[in-house]
């Protein structure tokens, strides 16, 4: 009896050991390609990077020169998206966390947000084309593209901000209101400042996604090639991700160097955004008093 049990235990432990090894190998096999991709892009893209590459206009049908207008375009689009989506997203999150009653309407709002998060990016492109470009007559422009990207970014900003607001202990609010502050004063002076790291994380993640998107701007604001920088929100613009798409599929005889260089610039942008998020998180964790 005793020996049977003992061998059973030994068997289970052997299974455990084997299982853990298999899982370790599979998981590492899942993340190794990510590291490989980063090294590969840096290795092949670095030789293309020069001051001229990031600061000059493209020349000879984009087969030479730099990618400056694409960088500027992505910068404009990101700022434009932030202008609309950040205030609206934070306000919506404040409503959901601090004001919204538990009723059917609030439930519909949540359903709507889940829905917005699931809509494919190319469908946002169609919507932007229908509403902003054609119906409101903004044309293919930075304005149309930014508005389209804003609505796509909203769900990310709303859900992360709401989570950050809810994490602030209820007692903070109770004390503030009992001292005579109004509801808004409590939110503005007490709850929001405590939630800032969480909100920033959401904003950065949302904007990172918006800046990397191509499909929503294809027919709302992206230009194949522009000989000059856009000078009003109603101009179309080049953008980094779209530029990469163009030079890797639409331009025959494109030097591979320029393609890898463009990918590297995009990768560096993503890495910087990710590092910012990680830093905000770890600093917030260290400083938190509750």
């Amino acid at each position: 009896m005793q020996t049977v049990k003992k061998s059973n235990v030994l068997k289970q432990l052997r299974i455990e050991k084997l299982g853990f090894s298999v899982l370790t190998i599979l998981s590492i096999a899942t993340v190794i390609p990510i590291i490989a991709v980063v090294i590969y892009i840096i290795y092949l893209g670095a030789p293309a990077i020069s001051w001229e590459f990031v600061s000059a206009m493209p020349s000879e049908g984009m087969r030479a020169g730099g990618i400056w207008p694409a960088i500027v375009g992505t910068f404009y689009l990101t700022i434009g998206t932030a202008l609309f989506s950040v205030p609206l997203g934070i306000a919506a999150a404040i409503y959901l966390s601090e004001y919204a009653p538990m009723n059917k309407v609030t439930q519909s709002i949540r359903l709507a947000i889940i829905n917005l998060a699931g809509i494919p990016s190319v469908v946002y492109g169609l919507f932007g084309l229908g509403l902003f470009v054609i119906f409101l007559n903004f044309g293919t422009s930075i304005l149309s593209a930014s508005l389209t990207l804003s609505i796509m970014t909203l769900p990310v900003i709303i859900s992360t901000t709401e989570e950050a607001l809810r994490a602030v202990p209820q007692s903070f609010r109770v004390v503030s209101v009992s001292l005579g502050a109004t509801k808004w004063q409590t939110i503005w002076r007490l709850v929001l400042p405590q939630a800032i790291p969480g909100i920033l994380t959401g904003v950065v993640l949302g904007l990172e996604r918006a800046a990397g998107e191509t499909a929503p701007i294809l027919f709302t604001g992206a230009a194949f090639f522009l000989p000059r920088l856009p000078n009003s929100p109603l101009d179309a613009t080049m953008a980094l991700p779209y530029h990469l798409f163009v030079i890797s599929t639409q331009v025959p005889g494109m030097p591979i160097q320029i393609q890898y260089g463009t990918v590297l610039v995009l990768l560096v942008f993503v890495l910087i955004m990710n590092i910012i998020v990680t830093m905000i998180r770890s600093r917030a964790r260290a400083k938190r008093q509750w």
Binding site: S27, V31, I34, Y95, N115, G118, L126, T182, W184, L218
Partner: protein, 299 residues
């Protein structure tokens, strides 16, 4: 006097915030409205039997969207076969097995993958994955459904990993302690206790991952070859294919506003919207069922 001002200010702020809260509903309705108003004319322009036929050739007014729908489904299915096992197992590893230092390396890497723009994956697909598949499998072209599936798997993995991991972390520590105290090994605890307890969260992760895959555009457009053929056999996996998303993205730029082609592309948008809506409804049903069950346990 000052008190009065504060009260009015408070009222304005409250209204503004309330309106912002409602805005999400407004946007969903607007999106629905514009899709329907631009897409439903397709039903009058093109006879229904032709719309769901097998030939997509807009230049000669053939608007059969069947190959596009099936193309999307094939690529999504292929991507799920890659992303679901790898995603769930990686989540289990990170949440239950990996030592702290390895967690700290793996989590940011998965987040980095989530942040990579889809054009970058498409670019790598063209230059690395597709030549590799062409040479090793001896195919006429590397731009196939399989190439798209593999890369889309990479897009779904971060979603599946992070949501499953959250679900596993939400399983109370006492469950694991109870199981270990009864003499089960950690391995038995994971598959017999922890994973079943997190089942609904993991299912939701899978649904949301799949949802992202159906809607993904740039990567599939760049690497699947874009041939609108109806996949009939397993062989189709190794041939070019075309999805709904890629069709909209590549053709919308060239059509005249208000033409039949334009309306049909919007109609495809409606179909896509319905697909993702279905996936989301299933996912949110799973999560609300979870809530009810946990309420039952707590009461």
């Amino acid at each position: 006097m000052k008190e009065n001002q504060t009260r009015i200010f408070e009222k304005i702020i409250t209204r503004t915030i309330q309106f912002s809260g409602y805005s999400s509903i407004l946007f969903v309705l607007l999106i629905l409205f514009f899709l329907l108003s631009e897409g439903t004319p397709a039903l009058f322009d093109v006879p229904l039997s032709q719309l769901f036929s097998e030939r997509w050739y807009p230049i000669e007014d053939y608007y059969g969207i069947l190959p596009l729908i099936l193309g999307s489904l094939v690529v999504t299915l292929g991507a799920s076969l890659v992303a679901v096992p790898f995603g769930i197992l990686t989540a289990v590893f990170i949440a239950e097995i990996a030592p702290k230092w390895l967690q700290e390396i793996m989590k940011p890497l998965v987040e980095l993958l989530a942040g990579l723009p889809s054009v970058v994956l498409g670019f790598l697909g063209i230059l690395v994955v597709s030549p590799f598949l062409r040479d090793t499998l001896n195919l006429p072209t590397g731009l196939t459904a399989l190439t798209g599936s593999l890369l889309l798997g990479g897009i779904a993995i971060p979603t599946i990993v992070s949501i499953s991991e959250d679900a596993l972390n939400n399983v109370p520590e006492s469950y694991r302690h109870g199981s270990l105290a009864l003499g089960l090994t950690r391995w038995q605890t994971i598959w017999g206790v922890t994973v079943p307890a997190a089942k609904s969260g993991i299912l939701m992760a899978v649904m949301l991952g799949v949802g992202r895959t159906i809607g993904e555009t740039m990567t599939v457009m760049m690497v699947t070859g874009n041939a609108p053929v109806v996949p009939t056999t397993l062989q189709a996996l190794f041939m070019p294919i075309r999805t709904m998303t890629a069709t909209i993205a590549s053709e919308m730029g060239e059509v005249a506003t208000g033409s039949s082609h334009y309306h049909v592309l919007f109609f495809i948008g409606i179909v896509l919207f319905l697909f993702t809506l279905l996936v989301n409804v299933i996912a949110s049903n799973i999560s609300s069922r979870k809530l009810k069950r946990s309420e039952r346990i707590l009461s």
